[in-house]
C-alpha cells in the first residue's frame, strides 16, 4: 500500500467515521436501549408523587353539635445535613417544644437527614419557631402537616364515638364502624423538582384531588345524652357498681337517642384507658335478662292465643316442683291472670305460660323478638347473645328461660324488644347513624327507620302495654319507676351474676329496669342495667335500685322533649333556657 496523501485521507476519514459511529452507537444505546433505566433514574431524582391527604369527616349529634373534629397540628422534622449552627437550633427547638436540650441535641446529627423532633405541635408553637429560625438564618428544620382528633365533650359518649389509633384508623365506636366513610380518599399529584428540591409548578403531572370524608350525623341528642350522663354519674357514685348502662331509644324509629356506660374513658387520651372501661356494654355485654324477659313469654302466649289476658294461671302458692327442682316466686301467689303474671312478676306463671305454648313456639318467639342475633346497629363488635335451640334444652329450660335465665342477651336487644311492644308490635332495627353528608352539606346517605319484622299484632301489643303500665302502678313491682305528671310502663329485672368460671356468684346481682313513656303514646324506651351495686343486704332489686334511676332519666327526658304532662300533679319544669349571670362567673345579687 502506497503511503500517499490519499491513503492518509482515507485513514483519517475512516478513524473519524469509526469514532462517529461509536458515538452514534452509544447515543442510540443510551437513548433507546437504556432509555427506561435512565428515565427511571431521572424520575427518581426529579419526579415525586405528593399525597394530598383527605380531611376526615366530623361526627355530629342529631342537632348538629360537633362531637368529633380534626385539630390541625404539625410534626417538627430536622435535616441534620442542612443545620450549620447545631447548638442554636437545638436551643430554639428545646425552648419552644418544651423538650430537654440534651434530647434535642441527641436527635439532631449531621448524618441524619430526617429525624422527627416532636409530633402534635400546635400551630402557635410552630409560628414562634419559624420566626426565630428566620431571624437566626437557620436552615434544616421543617414542619409537616398533621392532625389529631378532638372530642370536645371528653368522656361523654366515649363508647359511641370511639377513638382513632396512630395510623388514623377508627378503633372503637362510630369512628371504627364508619371509618370508610369518615376517612375519605387521599388524592395525589405528580410533581417535578429542581436541583434544590423545589417544585417546578409548570411541570406538574397527573393530579387527583382528595375526597374529604363524609360528616356522620348521629341519632344521639346531646340534650338527652347530657341527662343520661348526669344520672349515670350520680348512680355510679352512689351505688359503686361494677358497671352501669343506660340506653334511651325512640321505639317508633329504633333510633338510639342516648347511650352511656360506666366505667368510661376519655377518647382524647385513649392510651390511659383500660380494656374494661373501653367496653360498650350496651352491645358487648351478654347478660341474663332476668324478669324483663317475661315480656317475651307473655307476648308470645297472648299472640298465639293460647291464653287470654284474663285467663287465670295457678301459681302454686310460690312453690312449683318441676323436673325434680323447685321453682319459686318471690312472694306466694295463688291464681293470677296473665296480665298479673307480668305485674307481679311471677316466675311460676311465666313458666306455665311457656309450657302451655310448647318449646318450639316459645323458641320461635324468642328469635322473632331478635334474641340470638345481632341487631345490626352501626357499632362495632356487637354480639348476638346466646339462645340455644330447643334441641339443646334440658328438662328445666322451659321453666327457666321464661324468667330470663339460661339465656343471654345484650341490653340493646332488650331495648329493641321492649320498643316492639311500645310501638305496636314491630321489631325495629336500632340506628345510631342518621345520615351522612358531604363537605357541602349534601346528603350522601340517609338511614331511615327500618322494620325488621312484625313480632306480635298491635292488639297483643296493646294488651301487654296495659300490663306493663300495671307494673309501675300501685301493687306492681316498680312503683319507684313512676314519673310525676306522666304515665310510664315497664318491667323490672333481677338476675344473679353469672360467674365466668361457671354457675352464679352468690349475693351478686344484675338488676335492671326496662320501660317506656309516656305509656299512652311512647316517645322513649329506656333501659337501666346495673351490675353488682353496693346496696344493703336484701335490697338489690330492679324495682328498688334501677327503677328510681329510670324515673329520674325519663322524667327529665320527657320534659326536655316538651311532652305535655297528662297528670294534673305536674309541678314546675326546668327547661334549659340559659341566663347569663356575669362574665366573671359570679352570680349577681
Amino acid at each position: 500500500m502506497k503511503w500517499n496523501h490519499q491513503t492518509r485521507a482515507v485513514i483519517v476519514v475512516g478513524v473519524f467515521a469509526l469514532a462517529l459511529t461509536g458515538f452514534s452507537w452509544r447515543l442510540i444505546h443510551v437513548q433507546v436501549v437504556q432509555h427506561h433505566e435512565f428515565a427511571r433514574h431521572a424520575a427518581e431524582h426529579h419526579l415525586r408523587k405528593d399525597i394530598i391527604h383527605a380531611r376526615r369527616g366530623s361526627i355530629r349529634d342529631a342537632r348538629g353539635e360537633v362531637l368529633a373534629e380534626n385539630l390541625p397540628v404539625r410534626t417538627v422534622v430536622a435535616d441534620g445535613s442542612l443545620i450549620k449552627n447545631m447548638p442554636a437550633v437545638a436551643e430554639i427547638l428545646s425552648r419552644n417544644l418544651v423538650l430537654p436540650l440534651e434530647e434535642v441535641e441527641g436527635k439532631i446529627q449531621a448524618e441524619r437527614r430526617y429525624v422527627i423532633i416532636k409530633r402534635e405541635v400546635s400551630e402557635e408553637a410552630v409560628l414562634k419557631i419559624r420566626e426565630e429560625l428566620i431571624l437566626g438564618e437557620h436552615r434544616g428544620v421543617h414542619f409537616e402537616n398533621d392532625s389529631i382528633r378532638l372530642y370536645p365533650n371528653g368522656t361523654m359518649m366515649c363508647h359511641i364515638l370511639g377513638f382513632m389509633n396512630f395510623e388514623r384508623q377508627g378503633v372503637l365506636g362510630v369512628e371504627k364502624s364508619m371509618n370508610d366513610y369518615l376517612s375519605g380518599r387521599d388524592g395525589y399529584r405528580w410533581i417535578e423538582r429542581d436541583r434544590t428540591g423545589k417544585e417546578l409548578v409548570p411541570y406538574r403531572g397527573l393530579e387527583k384531588a382528595a375526597e374529604d370524608g363524609l360528616t356522620v350525623q348521629l341519632t344521639i341528642d346531646m340534650g338527652l345524652q347530657s341527662i343520661v350522663e348526669s344520672e349515670i354519674d350520680t348512680a355510679f357514685a352512689n351505688l359503686n357498681p361494677r358497671s352501669i348502662t343506660i340506653i334511651l331509644a325512640d321505639p317508633h324509629t329504633g333510633e338510639i337517642r342516648a347511650l352511656a356506660n360506666r366505667p368510661q374513658f376519655d377518647p382524647n387520651r385513649p392510651g390511659e384507658a383500660n380494656a374494661e372501661s373501653q367496653k360498650n356494654r350496651a352491645v358487648l355485654d351478654m347478660v341474663e335478662p332476668g324478669s324483663t324477659f317475661k315480656i317475651v313469654v307473655v307476648s308470645a302466649a297472648l299472640n298465639e292465643a293460647t291464653v287470654r289476658p284474663e285467663t287465670l294461671i295457678f301459681c302454686e302458692n310460690g312453690n312449683f316442683s318441676y323436673g325434680g327442682r323447685i321453682l319459686k316466686d318471690s312472694r306466694p301467689h295463688g291464681m293470677l291472670s296473665v296480665m298479673d303474671v307480668l305485674v307481679k312478676s311471677s316466675n311460676i306463671g311465666s313458666a306455665k305460660l311457656a309450657m302451655q305454648m310448647g318449646e318450639r313456639r316459645f323458641y320461635e318467639y324468642i328469635r322473632r323478638f331478635g334474641f340470638g342475633e345481632r341487631t345490626g346497629v352501626e357499632l362495632p363488635g356487637e354480639i348476638g347473645g346466646l339462645v340455644h335451640p330447643p334441641s339443646q334444652w334440658d328438662k328445666l329450660s322451659i321453666t327457666r328461660i321464661p324468667m330470663g335465665h339460661a339465656i343471654c342477651a345484650t341490653p340493646l336487644q332488650l331495648v329493641m324488644a321492649m320498643s316492639a311492644i311500645a310501638n305496636g308490635g314491630k321489631l325495629m332495627m336500632p340506628r345510631i347513624v342518621r345520615r351522612l353528608t358531604d363537605s357541602s352539606g349534601r346528603t350522601a346517605l340517609d338511614l331511615g327507620p327500618a322494620v325488621i319484622r312484625e313480632v306480635i299484632t298491635p292488639e297483643t301489643a296493646h294488651v301487654v302495654q296495659r300490663a306493663l303500665q300495671g307494673v309501675t302502678s300501685e301493687g306492681g313491682t316498680a312503683r319507684l319507676a313512676r314519673v310525676e305528671g306522666y304515665t310510664v310502663a315497664g318491667k323490672t329485672g333481677t338476675a344473679q351474676r353469672v360467674d365466668p368460671n361457671g354457675g352464679y356468684t352468690p349475693n351478686k346481682y344484675v338488676v335492671s329496669f326496662l320501660g317506656y313513656g309516656p305509656a299512652e303514646n311512647p316517645a322513649l324506651t329506656c333501659m337501666v342495667i346495673i351490675d353488682d351495686a353496693s346496696t344493703p343486704q336484701g335490697s338489690n332489686y330492679g324495682g328498688t335500685v334501677a327503677a328510681p334511676i329510670f324515673s329520674q332519666v325519663m322524667g327529665q327526658a320527657m320534659k326536655y322533649l316538651d311532652l305535655v304532662p297528662v297528670l294534673a300533679s305536674a309541678t314546675d319544669t326546668v327547661i334549659p333556657r340559659a341566663k347569663v349571670v356575669s362574665s366573671a362567673g359570679r352570680k349577681k345579687p
Binding site: N70, P152, V201, T571, V574, A578, K579
Partner: protein, 125 residues
C-alpha cells in the same frame, strides 16, 4: 496596470432575509425564554397562593375546633357548674301549648274547612 473597478455587489435582499430569519428566530427564542420565565413566576405565585389557602384552611380548622370545644355540651355544663349562667325554672302553668280543641274534636272528629279551632289545653287545669 489598470485597477479593477468592479466591486462585489451587496446582496441587500439576502442580508435582509438572513437578518429577518435570525431576528425572528432570536425573537421566538426570547419569547420562549420569556414565556418559560413567566410560567415559572406564575407557578411560584400559584404555589404561594396554594400555601396561603392551605394556611387559611388550617387556621379555619383550628378556629372551628376551638369553637366546637367552647360550645360543647360538656363545656357549657362546666360553665354552668362554675356559675357563669343558670337555668331558670318555668312552671308548666306558664307554658302555653296550643293544640286542637279536644271538646270540638269530640263533637266533630274530622273537622272540614281550612280553619281548625285551637286552644291552650293546659289552661283548663
Amino acid at each position: 496596470m489598470r485597477r479593477r473597478t468592479v466591486t462585489n455587489p451587496i446582496q441587500l435582499g439576502s442580508i435582509c432575509r438572513t437578518i429577518i430569519i435570525v431576528g425572528s428566530l432570536a425573537l421566538v427564542a426570547l419569547c420562549y425564554v420569556g414565556i418559560k420565565h413567566q410560567m415559572q413566576a406564575l407557578g411560584n405565585y400559584q404555589k404561594n397562593l396554594e400555601r396561603e389557602l392551605d394556611d387559611v384552611r388550617t387556621r379555619n380548622q383550628i378556629v372551628s375546633a376551638h369553637i366546637a370545644e367552647l360550645t360543647s355540651t360538656a363545656s357549657l355544663r362546666r360553665q354552668m357548674d362554675a356559675g357563669r349562667f343558670t337555668l331558670i325554672q318555668i312552671s308548666d302553668r306558664q307554658i302555653v301549648r296550643i293544640g286542637p280543641d279536644s271538646d270540638l274534636l269530640l263533637a266533630d272528629p274530622a273537622p272540614s274547612g281550612p280553619l281548625l279551632p285551637v286552644v291552650n289545653e293546659m289552661a283548663r287545669f
